[in-house]
């Protein structure tokens, strides 16, 4: 694995490398070089299995982090390729020519995050939502509770309890507070 990383460093600008476990490594590359490095990993280094492609909303930085999780059958190693893209102008190159199921993830990201993949087949089609009019729901600034309260009729009677308070009140009411009970590990 070290050799591969060294080789990749020679090829592209590797922004970050992190070894999570023996069989799981993460690298971060620049957006323009991504397609090239994925093709290289697939065709020459044996990372032929694309486990998934997903996005993380880094709203504080105004970025989306995409993760392409690859797998090498012969060495049994997972390699996650991260890339940061702009959140406001979210657009990414399509990988549907590298993997035939790539378009599925891209369609999902287009719907749930609003990331555009020009040229990807069926990317405009709806995936899980039907007639959705709000902003892409998986973005961090979409408040699902507020939407649910607004749209669906709540049945009165639902309440939220803090577990510590609730237990003290209901279960240990008749007992003196025990000094041994561990509360917060803050």
């Amino acid at each position: 694995m070290e050799q591969l990383i060294k080789k990749l460093k020679g090829m592209v600008h590797l922004r970050a490398y992190r070894k999570q476990r023996d069989d799981l490594h993460f690298i971060m590359v620049d957006k323009p070089q991504l397609e090239m490095i994925l093709a290289h990993l697939k065709n020459n280094e044996g990372f032929t299995h694309l486990a998934f492609l997903q996005a993380v909303d880094l709203i504080e930085d105004g970025k989306f982090q995409l993760t392409y999780m690859l797998y090498n059958y012969s060495t049994s190693v997972n390699l996650g390729v991260n890339v940061l893209i702009d959140r406001d102008d979210a657009e990414m190159n399509s990988i549907h020519k590298l993997w035939a199921h790539g378009w599925q993830y891209q369609r999902e990201l287009h719907e749930l995050y609003g990331i555009d993949f020009p040229g990807s087949p069926r990317v405009e089609e709806s995936f899980v939502l039907e007639g959705w009019e709000e902003m892409p729901p998986m973005r961090r600034d979409f408040d699902t509770l507020e939407y649910s309260d607004k749209t669906f009729y709540q049945r009165p009677g639902r309440s939220t309890n803090d577990p510590a308070e609730y237990m003290k009140e209901k279960m240990y009411k008749n007992y003196p507070p025990s000094p041994g009970i561990r509360r917060d590990d803050e």
């Binding site: 999570q20 299995h49 997903q54 993380v56 982090q65 049994s76 996650g80 199921h101 998986m138 917060d184």
Partner: protein, 399 residues
């Protein structure tokens, strides 16, 4: 770039040579010509696996075009988990795949442990392995009933789903839950095995083996079953990489990919797990492979029962889970479910709630790209059998 020519959207496509209207290598399907009928198979359809639907264009009894629609079960788990504390995620994740919830629980707790750097004690690892293998058997029992039912053989489904219920009873003894267990928590498991559990389990293994013998005699050796399943939905070895096919579907083509062996988790490295493969790649090969895998799971369960240590901690020393904060990082944890690679990608940002959790269900590609390819050119009567044979599980597609 040798694989480009075999790609779905650049030339490689299902064999449509049977259809008369071909233009530039594409079948022309004109619905107004009255040669084709458009039907929606599902979601209200007994032959569809779960709540999903397939949009079909048929010519006579033959499917010429298929498109999968999912989203009927979308509950936005990933969004909900971003709003919940780590420990509150557990009631949610087991509902991602209903027939086999334990893989989800394992993956989520293992991902949290990986990010927080917690080592699980020995005994808890064994109990987790036991739980995972038992859920594999329960899921397979349901599957084989579905496969027989899709061919109109109700008896097998009645027997095996009835037997699955006894396994669920065992789960109830072990975890307190019948379908959803929430047994694995970060750092270990919730409780020890009850008294007499091992004898019950061994007894049930014998009964299940007897049932599997009956199933083999009436189902797998049946001439009509063979004539219908053999040659149906052939997955070629080249398709495995292209479509990200995993699990028994990939092993039936000869691909040696079983996470229990390739990337051993919990205690699988100490157990004798055999790689079961086949080279045919059709629905019958998959059925046979899963049948052998069921026997292997039964073997594993009895081996695990012998090796579970009597003494030992059930949970690592943990901070207060209510206010547990995990340091920033990202990880991907996977496990072998009955359908293949089931993984969780988790990103933490240092707060008490996960930044992002993604569940990689094995059916994700099986039910969409692969099914859309394989459904073309088969008879409408085989579609249910094909869907069950790919072992699609809609809730893990749309989460």
């Amino acid at each position: 770039m040798s694989n480009l020519s075999k790609n779905k959207y650049s030339g490689y496509d299902a064999d449509r040579s049977k259809y008369p209207e071909m233009e530039n290598g594409k079948a022309v399907i004109d619905l107004d010509s009255h040669k084709f009928t458009k039907i929606w198979q599902g979601p209200q359809h007994p032959g569809v696996t779960g709540n999903m639907s397939v949009e079909l264009i048929i010519n006579g009894d033959e499917i010429v075009w298929a498109k999968t629609h999912v989203g009927y079960l979308h509950r936005a788990f990933e969004k909900l988990m971003e709003r919940r504390k780590y420990i509150q995620c557990f009631p949610l994740v087991c509902r991602i795949c209903v027939p086999e919830p334990d893989t989800n629980e394992y993956c989520v707790s293992a991902a949290m442990e990986d990010l927080a750097g917690i080592t699980v004690p020995e005994k808890a690892q064994w109990l987790r392995t036991l739980n995972l293998e038992m859920s594999r058997i329960a899921s397979y029992l349901m599957w084989i009933g579905g496969q027989a039912g899709s061919l109109g053989m109700g008896a097998i489904g009645q027997w095996t789903v009835g037997m699955r219920d006894f396994w669920l009873d065992l789960f109830e003894e072990m975890t307190g839950g019948r379908v959803y267990h929430m047994y694995m928590i970060p750092g270990g498991v919730r409780k020890d095995l009850p008294d007499g559990f091992k004898d019950q389990a061994r007894d049930l293994i014998v009964r299940t083996r007897k049932l599997l013998g009956d199933v083999e005699n009436t189902f797998l050796s049946n001439a009509i079953v063979k004539s219908r399943l053999q040659g149906l939905g052939i997955i070629t070895p080249e398709m495995v990489d292209e479509y990200g096919i995993v699990g028994p579907n990939a092993r039936a083509t000869g691909r040696e990919y079983d996470i229990r062996i390739n990337n051993p988790y919990v205690k699988y490295s100490e157990l004798d797990v055999k790689m079961i493969t086949s080279s045919v790649g059709d629905a019958y090969a998959r059925a046979e492979l899963r049948y052998k895998d069921m026997h292997q799971s039964l073997d594993l369960v009895s081996a695990i029962l012998d090796r579970i240590p009597e003494e030992g901690a059930l949970q690592a020393k943990m901070p207060n889970l209510v206010n547990w904060k995990i340091p920033p990082g990202q990880t991907y944890v996977k496990a072998e479910s009955t359908r293949g690679e089931h993984g969780f990608y988790m990103v933490s940002d240092g707060t008490g709630k996960p930044r992002r959790v993604f569940a990689r269900g094995a059916s994700y590609t099986h039910a969409i790209s692969v099914l859309e390819e394989l459904a073309v050119n088969i008879s409408l009567s085989d579609l249910a059998a094909l869907m069950v044979s790919l072992h699609t599980c809609p809730p893990e597609i749309e989460r």
